[in-house]
């Protein structure tokens, strides 16, 4: 009879484990928790609700007018008191120009005509729908707002730079030096301070904030305003099918940066 008791205990034990484990496993799958942490990929984004700010960059128009990119960059960097340290190692950039092979490394570069290789691609924070930087931040200094903007609270940033490692687009810069300081010739790193916006301090990470402070008072982002005449940058609500940006997206073939990262950027490019 001993062997029978042994078998009975085995079956009873397995049944108990299955009974306790199965409901929690089912719950996790049903609630989608397991998907939330590993989902993404190439599929469709989640059903839209509320505002989601996004932008279309018309690269052709930047190629036609080589000065335009610099105008946008300087508008952005002036409004946000972005310091210019004068060397690439310490560089702080919210908005900058990248070459096609660097901006779109996942797209085939094979047999591309030369002009494509030289296209000036305006790049900035993609304000991803699934931002990896937000998941990496240990202090919730960076977070996704309800309007889709991935924003930062510099008060909380401890300068660990996990977000910089997590960002697939290199959109974040670290303040290795004091942005309020001066170079060896006595020129301040911030050429002209905008008194309406703060600077940052040494030891924090910074990036494009989609001009959330300007949107709040009904203004367009600084770069969009600088490119308004050429309509090279179209900004608006991606969730509103009647917005200008949605119309442009409907009428044109656009690509996004590193789609396989599964981050669902809010930025689209017309090449």
């Amino acid at each position: 009879m001993d062997s029978k008791r042994r078998n009975f205990l085995k079956v009873a034990g397995l049944t108990a484990i299955a009974g306790i484990g199965a409901p929690s496993a089912f719950n996790m799958l049903l609630k989608g928790e397991a998907l939330a942490s590993s989902g993404g990929g190439h599929g469709e984004a989640a059903a839209p609700s509320g505002t989601r700010w996004g932008m279309v960059v018309d690269v052709k128009k930047f190629a036609e007018n080589p000065e335009l990119a610099n105008q946008c960059i300087s508008a952005c960097h002036t409004v946000h008191n972005v310091p210019d340290f004068g060397n690439a190692k310490d560089e702080i950039k919210w908005l900058w120009v990248e070459k096609y092979p660097n901006a779109f490394p996942e797209h085939s570069q094979d047999k591309r005509p030369d002009y494509v290789q030289e296209l000036p691609i305006m790049v900035l924070c993609n304000h991803c729908e699934k931002p990896p930087c937000v998941r990496a931040c240990p202090t919730k200094a960076t977070y996704k707002k309800k309007d889709g903007i991935v924003a930062m609270d510099y008060h909380r940033c401890i300068g660990c730079r996990f977000c910089m490692a997590a960002c697939p687009y290199g959109a974040r810069s670290f303040n290795w030096r004091d942005p309020r300081g001066k170079d060896e010739n006595g020129n301040p790193f911030i050429k002209a301070e905008n008194p309406k916006f703060p600077t940052r301090m040494r030891g924090v990470v910074e990036k494009c904030n989609f001009c959330t402070e300007r949107l709040a008072i009904g203004q367009l982002p600084a770069c969009v305003e600088a490119a308004a005449q050429s309509k090279a940058l179209v900004f608006g609500d991606l969730n509103d099918p009647h917005s200008e940006v949605s119309q442009v997206l409907k009428a044109n073939f656009t690509i996004q940066r590193k789609p396989s990262a599964g981050t669902h950027p809010s930025l689209f490019y017309i090449i």
Binding site: Y143, A151, P198, T212
Partner: protein, 133 residues
């Protein structure tokens, strides 16, 4: 007492040195800070006593509301634009709100902060009004 000629003067000097911080600061002890109030405005966003005690919490609350919760706000949402007891609208912002009325950091903020020996890091990033520099 043996050697009182040296011991007593030495004791007096010792006591004098030990208590010197007390009587050297006698005149200064009663000097309370007098932050300069704006001339054009008579009321702040909250009663004076509340502002004295809890302005730091109020600023933290503003910061969290504006930075994190502003997505759903209308342009004149009370979360972004507040109203004083008498109905004057104000922007909930240190740099663009408080310092519109309190135009001098030196004469207002520093007055108490130096007295209380607190060193808030507001101005490491926020730009203080030009007049104060």
């Amino acid at each position: 007492m043996y050697g009182k000629g040296r011991i007593i003067p030495a004791l007096i000097i010792f006591l004098g040195l030990m208590t010197s911080p007390i009587w050297l600061q006698l005149g200064n002890a009663s000097k309370t800070p007098k932050p300069e109030k704006p001339k054009d405005y008579t009321e702040c966003v909250e009663p004076t006593q509340y502002m004295r005690e809890t302005h730091m919490l109020l600023l933290n609350q503003w910061r969290d509301d504006i930075l994190r919760e502003d997505a759903d706000m209308e342009r004149n949402d009370p979360k972004r634009v507040g109203h004083t007891a008498n109905g004057t609208a104000y922007v909930r912002s240190l740099q663009n709100g408080c310092m519109n009325c309190h135009t001098s950091k030196k004469k207002f903020c520093d007055e108490c902060h130096e007295y209380a020996a607190v060193k808030p890091y507001c101005w490491d990033c926020h730009i203080q009004p030009k007049e104060a520099m």
